[in-house]
């Protein structure tokens, strides 16, 4: 069994490395083929002024005349040593630029993630409990309306109401100029972006929980439990919810990239200094060194989360595990026979 587990995780780790390799290749080739002058990303604005002879020399020196595959191997070996080049816009090492922003994104995305899934579970259970009563209907109606509003427009409307009309909350940034880092100040800057991130995703997952629970409630074992005399609450929480949790966990893992995408978008609208805004800026200014690392980073998170979801759904649920062992046992029997 332990040997089996070792092989299982080993295979998953191998799959992760392979996907990461493919991703890096894709990112590299797309960035090289995309419009824009690669010299610009090394020399900045000076690239436009250099003479043709210097240009040939520079291209020779940077190896831009080599075939793309050779260039890729060179870039990859640099990347393995942690050298991703210099950001053309910020004039410093790419990793330095990212290091300064990543905490903000983690704060916004992480808090949003916890809030989304906590509230979604709460709302979903409440709706299933009150199925077709007025509360359930109200929550469903409001949820549908909220989930229809595009995130960027919700941000605009909130900024209009809370920072332009009421003047109670700041409209952009992570902290006010001058007072870098007071807790209250940071929290005030976090409220509006967080609201948008949460409302953008909340109903999708709450509705998922609701419909899973409603399916579960129609199963035969619930009827048996009722006949046995268990209370509704006990059945809902101890039986129905419990059998939904494993799939909920794997959905949580799958949804990390989506929440991340939402965070990126919201950051851009609120000019919140995080990775999303950085990605947006680097795409607009064709800062490919930076964009490549950001894509790699986001892609790695996506791949990791998908693997995690697979492992969760394959390992955590005792039903699936039992099925698997049953299958292998059957196979062995067949082999013996």
């Amino acid at each position: 069994m332990r040997r089996g587990a070792f092989f299982y995780y080993g295979r998953k780790a191998l799959a992760f490395l392979l996907s990461l390799f493919l991703l890096s290749a894709a990112v590299f080739f797309v960035a090289r083929l995309a419009p824009g002058d690669p010299l610009v990303s090394y020399y900045g604005e000076r690239a436009e002024k250099i003479s043709p002879e210097e240009r040939v020399w520079a291209e020779e020196k940077l190896g831009l005349n080599d075939p793309l595959s050779v260039q890729y191997v060179r870039w990859l070996s640099g990347a393995l040593r942690g050298e991703f080049g210099i950001s053309f816009k910020y004039k410093t090492d790419v990793l330095e630029v990212i290091k300064g922003r990543i905490a903000n994104t983690l704060l916004l995305g992480g808090t949003g993630f916890v809030l989304i899934f906590g509230l979604a579970l709460l709302l979903g259970v409440l709706c299933a409990w009150q199925e077709d009563k007025w509360l359930d209907r109200l929550i469903c109606k409001v949820g549908t309306v909220l989930s229809c509003i595009p995130e960027f427009w919700l941000s605009l409307a909130l900024i209009l109401v809370f920072s332009v009309w009421l003047r109670v909350l700041p409209s952009s940034g992570a902290f006010s100029a001058g007072s870098a880092g007071g807790f209250g100040d940071r929290a005030a800057h976090l409220i509006l972006p967080l609201t948008v991130v949460v409302t953008g995703h909340l109903w999708y997952y709450a509705y998922m929980i609701r419909s899973r629970l409603l399916e579960e409630v129609r199963a035969d074992y619930v009827l048996l439990a009722r006949v046995k005399g268990l209370s509704r609450g006990k059945i809902l929480f101890r039986h129905c919810l419990r059998s939904c949790i494993p799939s909920y966990l794997s959905i949580m893992a799958v949804s990390v990239p989506h929440v991340m995408g939402g965070t990126y978008l919201v950051e851009t609208v609120f000019s919140y200094p995080g990775l999303g805004m950085l990605a947006y800026e680097s795409a607009r200014y064709q800062d490919y060194n930076l964009l490549m690392v950001l894509c790699l980073l986001s892609g790695a998170v996506v791949i990791l989360c998908n693997l995690l979801a697979q492992i969760l759904s394959e390992r955590i649920d005792p039903r699936i595990r039992a099925e698997e062992t049953g299958k292998t046992a059957g196979r062995e029997e067949k082999a013996l026979g």
Binding site: V30, L156, R232, N306
Partner: protein, 294 residues
């Protein structure tokens, strides 16, 4: 003697036709359909009732609040918002429908091939689909858009369509897997029916109802994607009027407290999205419900 069985004492259950008609309309999304109809008609025939040119920049009347002359006011470049709404809606909805059709085409193709293909090809295609599904579509669109360069209405539709076919492909594959063993497909094959023929005559009619709702949702998602991208300045440029590119002026509007430039296009956008969602949900709910045991 008359042998017919005549029931006695049962009230006639035949209701008048008017009540029947009312019954058949209950639960149908009439409001959303009406709203969508008005918006669609307004966008298609806007030449008939518009007196102002939406692209004309009336620099003497910049950021005028809604009033008698400019029904919905003007934007920071002096364009009339009322006429921009209808012209812009035309572009936004065109992008929505075109990319939904493209995504349905790709989804049906990949789903059918995957459903009929041998196991290894099926696994390969589904893995590919899953990878596609897991990447946030906005990032993917950004990436594709960066490669294609300056966006036009058509290129944007293609990009959005290329990134949103996955869910349709999955459902189609599942349906085709179930259908392909059925006798009529086998019979059609025996008589020499090719893949296009089987797809059109035997498979499509069966799975069409289950992807119809996704088609409507894809229209919605495409409209959202278009407006988001144009708002960010990566989608349609400012000169091509759409609901998203109208909103891309909102940063200036926020500074001058010009609420009409944000709220009015937004209300049309959100209203259309809401109606599309309602329509989609109605289509999905036609699946029968079972009693709960709790």
């Amino acid at each position: 003697m008359d042998n017919r069985f005549v029931p006695v004492g049962i009230r006639s259950t035949e209701r008048p036709p008017s009540a029947k008609r009312r019954e058949s309309l209950r639960g149908k999304p009439l409001g959303p359909l009406l709203f969508l109809g008005v918006v669609l008609l307004g966008c298609l025939c806007c030449e008939l009732f518009l007196t102002k040119d939406p692209t004309y920049m009336d620099l003497a009347h910049c950021s005028v609040p809604p009033g008698r002359e400019f029904l919905f006011g003007t934007d920071t470049m002096g364009r009339d918002i009322f006429s921009m709404i209808w012209y812009g809606g035309r572009i936004s909805l065109f992008v929505g429908f075109t990319s939904a059709l493209i995504s349905a085409g790709i989804g049906i193709l990949i789903g059918t091939v995957s459903g009929l293909a041998p196991r290894w090809l099926d696994t390969l295609l589904m893995r590919f689909t899953e990878i596609f599904l897991s990447v946030p579509s906005l990032l993917l669109i950004l990436f594709l858009q960066a490669i294609l360069g300056k966006a036009t209405v058509l290129s944007l539709s293609v990009v959005i369509g290329l990134t949103s076919w996955t869910s349709i492909a999955k459902v189609v594959r599942m349906e085709v897997r179930q259908l392909r063993t059925s006798e009529y497909v086998a019979a059609s094959r025996c008589m020499g029916g090719g893949l296009p023929h089987i797809l059109r005559r035997h498979l499509m009619p069966n799975f069409f109802s289950s992807i119809l709702f996704m088609l409507v949702m894809n229209v919605r998602n495409a409209v959202v994607a278009e407006s988001t991208l144009s708002f960010l300045g990566i989608g349609l440029p400012l000169e091509v009027i759409s609901w998203g590119s109208m909103l891309s002026l909102s940063e200036k509007a926020l500074m001058t407290n010009a609420w009409w430039m944000i709220l009015i296009p937004g209300v049309f956008l959100v209203g259309t999205l809401l109606c599309l969602t309602n329509l989609g949900n109605f289509l999905r709910k036609t699946i029968s419900r079972r009693e709960r045991n709790l």
